[in-house]
């Protein structure tokens, strides 16, 4: 069974070590914070000047001056700090974030990322994506394995405009966990009930298969969220 969006977020959260400093992009990445295992201290960075962003504020208790980069009214954890955009991007570009989890339109075999723009007559807008992609110590992608119409998002070469070249280290999808090692894309894990053949068939780039591919250790449900698609 493929993972739900929450399942992908859950799977990623298991891999963030205690003491991580993490930036989470919009979409699936923004769900990761919910699934951080109890006992781990992980500080969430937000581009607009937060280290230690907490969960969304309960309705009626929003602070009008406290949003995260996605525009959500959030809270702060004890030990949080606030700063301006210049310091925030010194943190990002200077290699101080241990991890960033980003969405993707396409990821290439060697870790090129396209996640900011589809071609065509549209208004371009990049936000912090390019800085985060070049700056974080580890860039992980959280994405569905294919588009809604079944096109592979993991490709040999990106056809969409690049965010940054060779920046992605791991890819977490509804079907698999993959890691980029130089020119090779390793299939590390597959979702429960999914076969290697299925993953290969839905991937647009050559995969390298280790001797054994692990099956993800993931519960069906966690804290009220379904992690596996029915």
């Amino acid at each position: 069974m493929p993972l739900t969006r929450e399942g992908i977020a859950y799977r990623i959260a298991q891999d963030l070590p205690d003491g991580s400093f993490v930036n989470l992009g919009v979409g699936i990445p923004s769900l990761v914070a919910r699934f951080i295992p109890p006992g781990r201290t992980i500080l969430i960075h937000s581009e607009n000047g937060i280290l230690g962003a907490g969960p969304k504020a309960p309705p009626g208790q929003e602070d009008p001056d406290l949003v995260n980069a996605n525009g959500d009214f959030v809270t702060l954890v004890p030990g949080a700090s606030l700063f301006d955009h210049a310091l925030s991007f010194s943190i990002i570009r200077g290699g101080h974030l241990t991890h960033a989890v980003l969405g993707a339109l396409q990821v290439s075999r060697c870790g090129d990322l396209a996640n900011w723009r589809v071609p065509g007559p549209r208004v371009p807008g990049v936000g912090g994506a390019m800085d985060i992609a070049v700056g974080a110590q580890q860039v992980w992608v959280a994405t569905t394995h294919t588009t809604d119409s079944g096109e592979p998002k993991i490709v040999d070469t990106c056809t969409y405009p690049l965010t940054a070249a060779r920046c992605v280290r791991r890819i977490y999808t509804d079907l698999a966990v993959l890691s980029v090692e130089g020119e090779r894309l390793l299939l590390e894990e597959i979702a429960p009930g999914v076969t290697v053949e299925e993953v290969v068939a839905r991937t647009g780039a050559m995969l390298t298969l280790p001797a054994t591919v692990r099956t993800m250790d993931i519960p069906t449900e966690y804290a009220g969220a379904s992690l596996l698609a029915p």
Binding site: V67, D84, R122, G125, M130
Partner: protein, 231 residues
């Protein structure tokens, strides 16, 4: 040294057609909406706005663009929900757009305020946002050259000011405000509360008064309602 101006209209009264204006804020926090509204009442033309987002009807920046007052927008993320005026004007060919990675956007403004001639950033290398820009390999890694960015005016939103223009922010109001305050010829701050000189602690002042030319008190409703110890 008293920088206090009575109204937002007075504070923006001298801005000419064609002026370049930085506007702070990200999300709602830190957007100087009352200055923007006063600017909109001026019915100017050919403005160049330097603002991280695209503006909405609500914050007034989208309204300025919809009015046709803006010739060019230098921005990072003008594609958020509500940025309909940018989309319409840009796709109609009536708005010039310069899009920058957000770190490059703020760093160019910082360089302008800090008197630097430019800098090399690793961000954007090999992307269409670096098209036509100089690339230089430094210590084995490629970087894009970026020029400093300055403006005729900056609109800043802060929480408290003293009458000299020392500024304090709360929560995520800072964002671009302290940086833009360094990079414009005339800096105008809209604040919730003006306090006497000496009432702000020297350590808490984030924008020293040397950067600020005009201060207007325009308290937001919720600030007006909430006593200081509950904010």
């Amino acid at each position: 040294m008293d920088r206090v101006v009575a109204t937002c209209d007075e504070a923006v009264a001298d801005i000419p057609n064609g002026a370049s204006i930085m506007i702070g804020g990200f999300g709602p926090p830190g957007i100087p909406v009352n200055l923007v509204r006063a600017l909109r009442r001026r019915k100017l033309r050919d403005l160049v706005l330097i603002y991280c987002g695209g503006g909405t009807e609500e914050d007034g920046i989208g309204g300025l663009i919809a009015d046709g007052a803006v010739r060019k927008l230098i921005s990072s993320y003008p594609t958020h929900p509500g940025a309909t005026a940018v989309r319409e004007k840009y796709l109609a060919g009536e708005l010039e757009l310069e899009v920058l990675p957000q770190g490059t956007f703020v760093e160019r403004i910082r360089a302008g305020g800090a008197g630097l001639g430019g800098f090399y950033t690793p961000t954007g290398v090999g992307t269409e946002l670096a098209a036509g820009k100089e690339v230089r390999v430094i210590d084995g890694r490629p970087y894009v050259f970026e020029f400093p960015l300055r403006a005729d005016y900056a609109f800043i939103k802060a929480y408290r000011a003293d009458r000299w223009g020392n500024l304090v922010y709360r929560r995520t109001m800072r964002n671009f405000n302290p940086i833009m305050a360094t990079a414009a010829r005339i800096v105008i701050a809209e604040v919730d509360e003006i306090v006497p000189v000496g009432a702000l602690s020297p350590e808490e002042i984030e924008t020293p008064c040397i950067f600020v030319d005009r201060v207007v008190e325009a308290p937001r409703d919720w600030v007006r309602r909430a006593p200081p110890d509950e904010r």
